[in-house]
Every structure is written in C-alpha cells, then in structure tokens.
C-alpha cells in the first residue's frame, strides 16, 4: 500500500508538472497579451513598460520565467495576478473554494439521491413502464446544456415569475454559510438543482446499467438459490457490487467539480467560485491566476483519481490484495 501511494504520488507530481509547463507555454505563445503592457497600464509610455517588464522579470528567458512563477506559486506562495496587481493568487483561490464546495456538495447530495433512487427503481422494474420513463428523463437531463438550463431557471426564477411564484428567490450571488445559513441555502437552491440535473441523469443511467449487469451475474443466481428475497438481492448484492462503479464515477466527477468543472453553472448563476475565477482569468489571460486555477483543478482531478483507487480497494476486496 505504501509503495502504491508513493507511486501514485510520483506520477501525480509528474502529471502536474507537465500540465503546468503546458499551460505556461500555451499562454506565453499568444500574441497581443504582453503582460508587461497590461500591468503597466493603458497607453503607458515604452519606458514605463520596459521598467515594469524588468521589475516583473518578464525580460528573462522562458525557462527562468517558468521557474520564477513556480517558485512564487509553490514555494513563496505569493504569486500575484497580472490583471489585478498585488492581488495574490492563492488567497483568491482559497476564497473561491468554499463557494464551489458549497455548490458541489449540495448538488452532489441531490444528484446522488435522485440518481441512485432512479437507477434502482428503473433496474428493479425492468420491462415495466416506469423503467423507460426514468431512462427517458435521464437522457433528457443528460442532453440539456447546463448553462442553458441555468439561464432558463434564471429567467423563470429571476424574471418571469419572480414577482409571483419565485418571489422568495434572492438575486443571484453567494452568501457565506457563516453569514446566514438560510440565505446560503436560498441562494444555492437553484444552482444546486441546475447542476444536479445533469449528474442525476448520468448516475441513474449508469447505475441502472450496472444493476442490470449485476443482476445477470452468477452470484445473483446464487443469492436467489439461497432463498433470499428479491429486495435483499437487489440491495445487498446487486447494488452493493454496482456501487463500486458508481463510487469511482462519483469520485472523479466530484474531484473535477471541486476543481472548477462547474464553471458554466457558476458563471451563469453568478457564483464567485473557482469556476468563475478560472473563467475570468482565462478571459483576461491572467496567466498567474490561470496557472493557480489549473494547478488547483488538476490537483483535484489527480487527487480524485487516487482517492477513487483507494475507495475501490475499500469497496471491492478483490483490489485490496492485488
């Protein structure tokens, strides 16, 4: 196990390194985005730009600039934005993280609940009317663009019916849970539902497929031969084995979302989370912030991959030994 973790760690660090180099190269190869010109300010004279360039070390060779940036990001931890000078990147990310976490946690609860319920009900009722119905709803949910759903939800809750049915919906934005738990929840209800819709659809469909596969397994036949009830077979045997797939799926999705994959939902719903931070940084080509966000996101993706491996081992004893 220890060696497994060390191996994972090494490969994770290598992957993160490769990604950081990639991001750095991508964004330095772009014309029209000379950070010195933008830091110096609009229409600064060439002399001022030169002074700024020197003071930010932007006149040094690329590898040095890369190393400097990494040093500021990881060792000194004081990397600052180009667009908002002297705004350190790390605190920005740390401030955005709770917003994203709030969004994703709530949504995850909802989608797990709906997804698992939908998948189990559909699998238990194979061949009946309710199965294709659930699957149809699932496909619809999977096919709805998240941002569009968000906008339509906004349209109905913030505009069309804001004066009637949805008068209780606060204007979009985020309120910290420490400020007011009620406002926190009220602000997040629709973002939660919007984000959860897609994943609930995916999970219901995946779980149903897994369950149907599991129900055709030999061990289910054994369980029947043991004289167990259908409910017990479905829940204790089929579902328990299908959870392995679901949990790994969940781990990866959750990791990606915490890392900012809910970007569109955050942007549309006006939540100042990691996704929005990333998006704004990308829009303004603010390399330090982009780098910070990408590292943060990639960390969670890589971390989620590793956690999923461990979860796998916990859930599936076959992996534990190998």
């Amino acid at each position: 196990m220890v060696s497994f973790i060390i191996r994972r760690l090494i490969s994770a660090v290598l992957v993160l390194f490769a990604i950081s180099v990639m991001v750095f190269l991508i964004f330095f190869a772009t014309p029209g985005v000379d950070p010195a010109a933008r830091i110096a300010g609009r229409s600064a004279s060439p002399a001022v730009v030169a002074a700024v360039r020197a003071s930010f070390g932007l006149n040094r060779p690329l590898p040095i600039r890369y190393l400097l940036m990494m040093e500021h990001l990881f060792i000194k931890r004081d990397l600052t934005s180009y667009v908002n000078p002297n705004t350190p990147v790390i605190p920005q990310i740390l401030r955005a993280a709770p917003v994203t976490l709030s969004l994703v946690l709530g949504a995850a609860l909802i989608w797990l609940l709906i997804g698992v319920l939908g998948g189990v009900v559909a699998a238990a009722n194979r061949g009946k009317f309710i199965d294709p119905l659930i699957m149809f709803v699932g496909i619809a949910a999977v096919s709805v663009p998240a941002y569009w759903l968000g906008e339509v939800v906004n349209y109905f809750t913030q505009s069309r019916f804001h004066s009637s049915v949805f008068s209780w919906v606060p204007s979009s934005g985020y309120v910290s849970i420490t400020t007011s738990p009620v406002q926190w929840a009220l602000h997040l209800v629709f973002p939660w539902l919007t984000l959860a819709a897609l994943y609930a659809g995916i999970y219901a469909r995946v779980l149903r497929a897994e369950l149907v596969n599991a129900l055709n397994e030999d061990y289910v036949r054994t369980a029947r031969a043991k004289g167990l009830s259908e409910r017990r077979i479905l829940v204790r045997h089929a579902l328990r084995c299908s959870l392995v797939a679901l949990v790994s799926l969940f781990g990866l999705d959750f990791g990606a979302l915490i890392g900012g994959a809910a970007l569109l939902t955050e942007v549309v719903m006006g939540l100042p989370g990691i996704g929005q931070l990333t998006y704004n940084a990308l829009q303004s080509l603010d390399l330090p912030v982009i780098m910070g966000c990408v590292m943060y996101a990639a960390f969670f993706v890589v971390f989620a991959n590793a956690v999923v491996d461990v979860l796998y081992a916990l859930l599936d004893p076959r992996v534990r030994v190998a």
Partner: protein
C-alpha cells in the same frame, strides 16, 4: 427508431436552411437588418422597435410572429430572423459535433492502435500524453485552447486556420476528447492483441500492417461506431458551451450556442431567442443519446463514454 427520426428531421431541417431563408422568409440570416421593416397583419412594422414609453430608452427586436414565412421566432438584436439563424446555427452545431467526433475517433483510433499494438516507447509516450490531457480538466483545456486560438488563429507550417473558421472549434473539441476515446481503445487493442486469432496471424507470418488492418481494426470498429453518436451528442453540447462563452463559433456565424448567447441579452424581453436553440440542442442531443444506446445495444453492451463540461 423515433430517435433516428428526430435526428434525421433536425438534420434535414438544418440542411434546408437556405431554402427557408431565401425562398420562404426572404431574409439573410447573417446580415444586420437594423433598419428593416416587415409587413405584419397588413401593417408595416420595424424589425427593431424603439421604445416609446416612459423615458423612451431601449430598442427591442420584434418578437415571434408565429408566421412561418417571416420572423417566425422574431428577430435578434441585429434584426436578423431568429428562426433562419436557428436553422443555420443547427448546421454549424451539427457539423462541428459530427466532424469533431469523427476526427476525434480517427485520431484516437490511430493513437490507440499504435500505443496498444506496438507498446514500448510509443505506448509510453501516447499513454503519458493521455494521462496529462486526462488530468487537465477538460473544460479548462477546451477553454484555454479556444481563448488562445481565437486570438492568434492556428498556424501549423503552411496550414493557416483563421480565427473565425469553424475548423478551430472542430479541432479543439476533437483534440480534447481524444484520450476519452483513445484510452479505452488502447485497452481493447491490448486485449485483442492477445486474442488467439491475432496469435494465429502472427503464427502464419503476418506483417504488423496486416494484423492491424485486417485483424484488429475490424474488431475495434464496432466500439468506435458505438462511441460515435454519443460523441456527436457530447461534442454538440461542448460546442454550444464554448460558443455560449463566446469562444466557440465566431459571429456572424451562428451555432445554437452563439444564438443562446445572443439571446441572453434579450432574455427579459424576447426569451424565445435563447430558449428555442436550447430546445434544439436538448432534442438533438437527446435523440443522439437514445440512438447511441440503441447502437450500443446492437453492437457492444459494455462501451460507455463519459466526461462532462
């Protein structure tokens, strides 16, 4: 079957966009019509209507006329026919979705075959690239590439792709999803390589080329075919998301995503501009998903594609 019907219907309707625009509605979906007027119920009406109430600020495009021959879904802020744009936009969305899916599958197949079959250094390199792209959050990669390429265009040797070209979103989306197809394909190739019929071919002295093209490829093909409709649906969604963020299809070209984006500015006054293309996406992507399920059932019950933006 119904799903196939829906897909065919949408494709046909979108392909017929010029017919509708030029012969039925007599509009150009890509030219601003800020001073335009139409005849509606016997009256001449401006396509863009200045506000006459209160302080008189604001100009609002005409809403849905529900007359199929003109401004069926109303106009956008440039005074262009939303319905005509919807059809043209569908062309772009479908084109990007399908072409990028095909390119993605092609590249993934080549890489997956090379990595899985030859192993060694090739496998190591390809797998590491897959690893990195895999760990690079997909939305971030797509958006980064889009932002950059839209600024500079793409120059590879003599090949120059302008920033407004549809090829850019196609290539970006295709590249970003390569590992999602390539990885499972590599696995399939690895297991196929150990299959006895491949061993038999080696045993009779077959060349690598023979084995790849005659023995392995035909067995990988069904998986790719299963992936395709799902990929198309998924790429459509990705395209529309990028376009929605203004980093996909560039104006005045339209895709469903850009129309939704246009429509956002009109959500309070003319919600149909944003809602209609969304329905188009849901309908088409949904039908493709159903179709994909059908194809999967027919070919390969185990394939699954995932990822999300």
């Amino acid at each position: 079957m119904a799903a196939l019907g829906v897909v065919l219907f949408v494709v046909t309707a979108c392909l017929l966009a010029p017919v509708y625009a030029h012969d039925l509605a007599h509009v150009d979906a890509f030219t601003s019509n800020l001073n335009g007027t139409i005849r509606l119920n016997g009256r001449t009406v401006s396509v863009l209507q200045a506000n006459t109430q209160g302080l008189g600020f604001g100009v609002t495009p005409i809403g849905p006329t529900w007359h199929f021959t003109n401004y069926f879904l109303g106009a956008d802020n440039q005074g262009r026919d939303v319905f005509a744009r919807l059809l043209y936009g569908g062309r772009a969305t479908l084109l990007i979705g399908s072409t990028s899916a095909i390119i993605c599958c092609l590249v993934a197949t080549v890489l997956g075959l090379a990595a899985g079959y030859f192993g060694g250094v090739i496998d190591w390199v390809v797998s590491r690239v897959f690893d990195i792209v895999w760990a690079f959050p997909i939305y971030l990669l797509a958006i980064s590439l889009s932002v950059i390429l839209l600024t500079s265009g793409l120059n590879i040797g003599p090949l120059h792709i302008g920033a407004g070209s549809l090829l850019l979103p196609i290539l970006i989306i295709a590249m970003v999803f390569v590992p999602y197809v390539g990885r499972p394909l590599r696995g399939i190739v690895l297991s196929l390589k150990e299959r006895e019929f491949v061993q038999a071919a080696i045993g009779s002295g077959a060349s690598d080329w023979h084995i790849i093209t005659k023995e392995i490829l035909p067995n990988v093909a069904p998986t790719i075919i299963v992936f395709l409709p799902l990929m198309v649906a998924f790429n459509m969604l990705t395209e529309s998301a990028l376009s929605f963020l203004s980093i996909g299809v560039q104006p005045p070209n339209a895709s469903w995503g850009t129309i939704i984006n246009d429509g956002l500015g009109l959500l309070y006054t003319r919600p149909w501009v944003a809602i209609a293309p969304g329905i188009g996406i849901v309908l088409t992507a949904g039908a493709l998903n159903v179709l994909g399920d059908g194809v999967r059932d027919a070919f390969d019950p185990k394939a699954r594609l995932r990822g999300s933006i």
